[in-house]
Amino acid sequence: MTSMDAFPDVSVLKGLARQQLAMSLGNFYGKKDLVIDPTLMTPLDRLTGVQFLKEKGVDKIFKLEHKEILGGCDQRVYIVRPEVKIMRQIAAHINSDKRAEKLRKYRILMVPRQLHICNMILEQEGVLGNTVLIEDLHIDFIPLDSDIISLENPQLLNAVFREGDQTWLHTVARSIVNIQAAFGTIPNVYGQGHNAKIVDELVKTLTSEFDEKKSPLQHQIGHLILLDRDVDYVTPLCSQVTYEGLLDDIFEIKCGAIDFGPEVTGTEKSVKTLLNSDDAIFDQIRNRHFTAVFKFLSSRAKEIQANYDKRHNMELQDLKNFVASELKGLKQEHRSLTLHIGASEVIMKHKTKGSLKKGDLQDILRIEHSLLEGSDFRECVAYIEECIHRQYDMLLTLRLLCLLSCTTSGLLSKDYQNLKTQFLHSYGFEHMITFFNLKKAGLLTEAQTGKETSIESNLNKLADSRAVGSAVSYVTSSLAALQKKDWFRTVSKKLSLIPKPGTENNTHHPSDMSYVFGGAYVPLTCRLVEQSLQRQGWSGLEDVLRHLPGTTFEKQEARSAKAGKTGATMASKVVLIYFIGGVTYSEIAALRFLGRQKGYKVLIAATSIINGSRMLESFVETVK
């Protein structure tokens, strides 16, 4: 395919990030130790290796922990996220060095930028001075694959959507500015969501404040679609059934890599492997519905066997060629095939047998489908109660609870209280804080019935009047948006997210994006992407969008100006979809499918890759 060449090569971003790191380390002459924020370990691993760091004069590498670091040389570099807690830890290190009269030079590299509060905290702790230098380390996107780039910043979800803290949106905007610097200014921008709008405005501000001229480059990306996660909480709450999604749900994919334990490898050792399109076998199965995976793997196994067998009746010369060219590839495929077959077996076990704390995947899927369809409400509630009664994995129970709430626009007061009481009995009273957090994020809410008792409504009024000022903050107002009656039902009907019963969905040869959920549901976000590309904007969708949380916006460049240039027409088929708050592998699979179907090159950017458990984890109270 010729258009393949036009595909923006995101590995450029990796090079830029490495360059940044090399600069920062190179500026600090001599031998030094490295102390890394645990949350940055894996992302840095993806960018560099120990060899690279050693070349830059790194001696020892430590993980930043609360305890003191013993030993090390007289220069030390911290690579950290700009957070209060971390600043305190660093300050503790420096102060303890001071007490021990150890003379050391420090550099604190903040990823991706230093914040006012960080410098303030370091100043308050009395560690600022000649020996401590603070610098920005502008690393934003980590390319996880040729079509996925991620900020790998999962804490953004909690900060932005629960606390209403916009600090990280700057990073999101900055990453877009950098993308535009590398691949040209993107002419068409469509967005949905409160934070998407902010990011769009921030991009403008940053572009002008950095005095960035309109990039002279011919743009390689034609469309940017910005979506807030809270536009669609339903999708990440569903169990995933594509191969890659299942791997993430069961084994957890970290920054594009996975750890297969002994149960998969069949040996004592676990194997860590990268999951991306370089692995030919994986590339073939990652987006498939799980039922279609096994068949492919077995036929592939036969092919490989046949290729191996070829060598038996080969002439010497041919054999030499075979060993030189084919054998290595075959061995690699063999290795990857073994792993994926092992993983599939484990997934099968999870699917049919269930376990003491997990429940049967088949039951769970049935309940999820009913919830999406809006049928058998009582049966669904009964199943969730059973999960609570049997003390199933808490995140599973919470996920179903949130799905129940999101698809019905909040639970009836009676159901809410009833489920909450049972939940607290099963998992601990401290989780009333979890319930509060989820309520604030709009994931698990109590529907306003309108038939409030007079005392309650009076109290509410009193509380409201005490809140001075008319401007209501986003976090509180988003609740109101979500409580619009039955919004999910309305939207799913208008966008036909639930395929009509009777339309047979072939999971082997899908005809529709709904295949990623076994034909039960088209992810809302992916439908929005499809519609906006088809309409080149949001026009005609106002009726749907007003039901969704947040604001809608679009920006288009006059099409006639660029028409005629061949590069521009090529770029008009390249689309970057940015998920603020994270994206799931199911959505990625659906968007890849959409791209193939409609002839678009799809590039997915996200603040992190999430699944139901990881999304909810950030809201769960951990105090015991």
Binding site: S24, H138, G164, H389, R390, Q391, N460, R466, V623
Partner: protein, 515 residues
């Protein structure tokens, strides 16, 4: 050092003036050189290569050695992506000092040069010409110098004022957003502070919003600050997020209370209460929780559900503490058989109600309700539903292998009109599922498997659990001969008894097979 080299090559020794100014023209250049060395390797290389060809020629003109300087200057700012990427880190120190220096020195060097020119020109003129030329321009020259002097003074004053006065608010905000250096302390008026905050909110940068908010907090009177803060909901969000991260709980609580967000404030205090007592004993925690209710929950009727939950939590802790004490003592004494055969794994203190119930079903099944460790007592106190109780008790009893107790649990005693029968509120399919997942042996399962309502479900479960008799009976009951024949093959050869049973049924004349 450079001036030493020039001296021999200098044509006119009399041109001391020129030489002086020329060599002084290097000064910004040298200075710049030093500055770059500190900054980065790349810049050294640039200057090294550019400086070398210039040195010999440098005498010729001042303007000639400016290009390299500006080139070095401009490249971090230019639009090339790579330069853009790492330029910004340097930007904050780099352009501010050296970039302005050459510019400043330029008018200074130019002025005396211009003044020197007429004198050097006089060399070729006659003496009279010199005298007349000398006397004539004095007035205008003086005026010129005067104006130059005036403008320089003005510039100096301006520079001094610039230092003292704050840069415009939008400039400061820009620096906050792009990562430059800024000084907030220059803004003295309340209006300026508020405008700064509003500008930050308008630009949507969390860092700037928080910086402006905290600056206000530190420089305004408490109630003025609150008043200004409360007007801006976005600032409140950022402030609260900061307080939470920094652990300033009391301040956060006060802010939330002032905003009328009582539920959030109460939750915060509840959380703090748990966090500070997580290592202490239950007595301390329960008294802390009682205070928590008294001060933060009782005042709001909307929190009545939460209040009663915390009260339950306190009761639970008291029970856990008592049971834990007596059980660990019993375990230590070594006289109680059950703790020897099934050693306790973990303390139950601070565990959930159901985990506690499970524990008590495991170790204290059948105890009278008066005892704190009695499962029934827990069930009644916490109003545990029948279903939940059954799930928990079944799992615990199954793990203990107390089959007779399970049977008793599932039996409705004989009444006047009905004999005793098996009954389970959760349905026998769930009973069998719980038992099998807790690794009950097949013979313990068979009995309940047979009780499953619905032929299909029963059959499915029986096949899955290899409860052969139930499966055969069900197939016979549904008169499905084909399936039974097929099923016969699935019964292992070792189990002759069941194979026999199935064959007998197949041969039986009493059954009217459907197929």
């Amino acid at each position: 050092m450079s001036s030493v080299r020039f001296r021999p090559s200098g044509a006119q020794p009399k041109e001391g003036d020129d030489d002086y100014w020329n060599s002084s023209g290097f000064k910004p250049f040298n200075f710049n050189d030093d500055d770059d060395e500190e900054d980065s390797i790349d810049v050294i290389r640039w200057d090294g290569s550019t400086a070398a060809p210039i040195r010999p020629k440098s005498q010729t003109s001042l303007s000639k050695h400016r290009p390299p300087v500006t080139q070095a200057m401009s490249s971090p700012a230019c639009g090339i992506t790579s330069a853009r990427a790492y330029g910004s880190a340097r930007k904050q120190h780099f352009p501010s000092s050296p970039a302005t220096l050459p510019q400043h020195s330029e008018p200074m060097t130019a002025k005396p040069n211009g003044a020197a020119r007429p004198t050097s020109g006089t060399d070729q003129r006659t003496l009279t010409e010199v005298v007349t030329a000398h006397s004539a321009p004095t007035a205008t020259d003086f005026a010129k110098l005067e104006t130059a002097n005036y403008s320089l003074r003005r510039q100096l004053a301006q520079a001094k004022r610039d230092q003292a006065a704050a840069p415009s608010k939008s400039e400061t905000l820009c620096r906050l957003i792009t990562g430059g250096t800024y000084i907030l302390e220059l803004y003295k008026s309340k209006e300026d502070k508020a405008a700064l905050l509003d500008g930050a909110i308008q630009r949507h940068d969390g860092n700037a919003i928080l910086a402006a908010t905290l600056f206000m907090r530190d420089t305004l009177k408490r109630d003025l600050f609150s008043k200004e803060l409360m007007k801006r909901a976005v600032a409140v969000d950022h402030y609260c997020a900061y307080l939470r991260a920094a652990g300033e709980i009391d301040e956060l609580h006060e802010t939330l209370s002032a905003l009328g967000r009582t539920e959030e404030a109460a939750m915060l205090k509840y959380r703090q209460c748990l966090a500070t007592t997580s290592a202490s004993n239950p007595e301390i925690r329960s008294s802390a929780l009682k205070d928590c209710i008294k001060y933060y929950f009782d005042c709001d009727l909307r929190l009545s559900n939460e209040t009663s939950a915390i009260q339950e939590q306190i009761m639970l802790m008291e029970r856990q503490s008592a049971v834990e004490d007596s059980d660990s003592a019993a375990e230590k004494s070594g006289t109680v058989q059950v703790f020897k055969s099934h050693p306790r794994r973990d303390s139950i203190v601070y565990k959930s109600v159901i985990t506690t119930l499970y524990y008590c079903c495991y170790y204290h099944w059948g105890e009278a309700e008066g005892l704190l460790s009695s499962p029934t007592s827990i069930k009644n106190q916490h109003k545990i539903g029948e279903k939940q109780f059954l799930y928990t008790a079944l799992a615990a009893l199954c793990r203990m292998r107390r089959w007779r107790d399970i049977e008793a649990l599932l039996t409705v005693p004989k009444s006047l009109f009905r004999s005793a029968r098996l009954h389970a509120t959760i349905g026998f399919d769930k009973v069998v599922d719980v038992l099998s997942k807790n690794l009950a042996p097949p013979d313990a399962l068979g009995k309940y498997c047979a009780e499953i309502e619905g032929n299909e479900k029963r059959l499915e479960m029986a096949i899955k659990l290899k409860s052969f008799k139930v499966a055969i009976d069900t197939l016979v009951y549904t008169k499905d001969r084909q399936k039974l024949m097929a099923y016969l093959d699935e019964i292992p050869q070792a189990n002759q008894h069941m194979r026999q049973y199935a064959s007998t049924q197949l041969r039986s004349q009493d059954i009217k097979w459907r197929n």
